[in-house]
């Protein structure tokens, strides 16, 4: 582990009822980079995210964030330490407005206590106003500012993805994990997300992406890891990975119909 590594795993393993979903994966994410993790379905990519963020308890190995071990921490602790994520199958808070969705992400930055909330003290109002302002900024960052007072259930699929990103950014994380951010999007929309991810990185946030869309992966990644059957089978720069025979065999395929334009 070098000083510039912000997130590292050391032979991380997860077992479900005897089946190894993740078999000793060691990766390191460098400060400020955009890193992609690709691999066939069931290779363990989402499991990897879940294990890193504390949603699953790893059965072996260790995880470090900014040099601090987070292996056995719960998801909320990990989040407080600056690791945010989005979900593959979207999980917006459907019965809350967009603004409230993002405000939930601001929760860990809020200072006013219960008594202040009951008494509606000036400190409470100040805190609420400041966080609402920040939430609005984040919504406008992902292009949803106009719809801030609508319920999240009324968003389209693509908008929900944007909302999830805004919500994750509300944590002010140092690392952002995105699980298939452009799945089901057309090239125009994909372009927008790529732009967004670049902007996020420009704010100094390290981004880790799971994605199948090779245009996106090859287009913005600084480095790529390839997982298969819970193991790392390749890593490197985009053009290296694309040319790696093991990756082609397990994942990319050689067919003309493969959308790796």
């Amino acid at each position: 582990m070098t000083a510039s590594d912000i997130l590292t795993t050391d032979s991380l393993s997860v077992t479900f009822g005897g089946v190894k979903a993740l078999a000793g994966v060691s990766i390191s994410v460098r400060q400020g980079e955009i890193l992609s993790i690709i691999g066939p379905n069931g290779a363990g990519k989402t499991t990897f995210f879940n294990a890193v963020t504390g949603a699953y308890a790893p059965t072996g190995g260790r995880v470090f964030l900014s040099g601090r071990e987070i292996t056995d921490m719960g998801p909320d602790q990990v989040a407080r330490l600056g690791l945010a994520r989005s979900f593959q199958n979207l999980k917006p808070f459907a019965e809350m407005t967009l603004l409230e969705n993002v405000l939930v992400g601001r929760e860990i930055h809020m200072a006013s206590g219960m008594l202040a909330a009951i008494l509606r003290s000036p400190a409470f109002h100040r805190d609420e106003a400041a966080q609402k302002q920040r939430a609005r900024e984040l919504l406008s960052f992902v292009g949803l500012e106009q719809r801030r007072d609508q319920l999240a259930r009324n968003l389209t699929y693509g908008e929900r993805k944007m909302l999830e990103i805004a919500r994750a950014l509300a944590l002010e994380p140092s690392v952002l994990l995105l699980d298939e951010p452009v799945a089901g999007m057309n090239p125009t929309e994909t372009g927008f997300v790529m732009e967004l991810v670049q902007n996020i990185r420009r704010q100094g946030i390290t981004v880790v992406i799971i994605e199948h869309d090779m245009k996106m992966v090859m287009g913005i990644s600084d480095r790529i890891y390839v997982l298969d059957h819970g193991e790392l089978i390749a890593e490197g720069l985009p053009h290296e990975v694309r040319a790696n025979p093991a990756v082609i065999e397990a994942y990319l395929g050689g067919g003309t119909l493969a959308p790796a334009h």
């Binding site: 066939p40 379905n41 699929y157 693509g158 090239p187 125009t188 929309e189 990319l252 395929g253 493969a258």
Partner: protein
């Protein structure tokens, strides 16, 4: 074979389809492309009776089918393989397939099962495994195989390549092509517009709940508007 005339569909107060008209002829592969929320999946759901249309008509082989419940529509020969595969995770592969042939007379089930398994040899290897334990690609195969069990005349596939590795995507498209050789008509909804148009005969472009462009697949692939918006230049 299938004709949609000016159909309208509401999700609560939101108008999902604002007058979609399209046609599918016997033996064709027809693709619907469009952005998220344009109404592609809604169109399929309207056809299979999952959501009731509030206006317009749907005709299949000359008979109105709008307003019928889903199971009757399946009975008439339209099979809908929905987005996200939706395998019955607790049921075995065999049970999944048998459920696909739920409406077949008992005497024909075994024979149809054999035929479908012949098309997907991988599934016969896993015949008594629970559906949920299959890999993503296998599940997609199972979903298609299940949709074929009811001997449909028209197969509707919703985003069959979604979330699959590129190598698997290629296989799925090969499978769709081979289905046509078996005499099946296919209505395909795909995000992967390039690949979809490549294997289909005709295409429709949906935008905000209505059809804005349609025509021969080859023509669509070279239409600058399509290229710009859906094929990514």
């Amino acid at each position: 074979m299938l004709r949609l005339t000016d159909i309208q569909l509401l999700y609560g107060p939101i108008e999902a389809l604002r007058g979609v008209s399209l046609e599918v002829a016997e033996g064709e592969i027809v693709t619907l492309i469009g952005a998220n929320g344009a109404g592609k999946s809604s169109t399929l759901k309207a056809i299979s009776g999952i959501h009731a249309v509030v206006g317009g008509s749907i005709e299949f082989r000359g008979q109105r089918i709008d307003g019928l419940p889903p199971h009757e529509i399946v009975g008439r020969g339209i099979s809908h393989c929905p987005e996200g595969r939706r395998i019955f995770a607790d049921l075995s592969v065999r049970e999944n397939l048998l459920m696909g042939g739920y409406l077949l007379p008992k005497s024909e089930t075994a024979q149809q099962l054999e035929q479908v398994l012949a098309m997907f040899p991988r599934l016969s290897e896993r015949i008594s495994q629970a559906g949920g334990t299959l890999s993503g690609g296998e599940q997609q195969m199972l979903a298609i195989a299940r949709a074929l069990m009811c001997k449909p005349a028209l197969l509707m596939l919703d985003e069959p390549s979604l979330g699959l590795a590129p190598i698997m995507v290629a296989k799925i498209f090969e499978t769709i092509l081979s289905l046509r050789q078996h005499g099946l008509t296919v209505l395909l909804v795909e995000q992967n517009a390039g690949a979809a148009l490549e294997i289909s005969d005709r295409g429709y472009v949906l935008e905000v709940g209505s059809v804005t462009l349609s025509g021969d697949s080859r023509a669509l692939r070279s239409d600058p508007r399509v290229v710009q918006a859906y094929l990514g230049g």
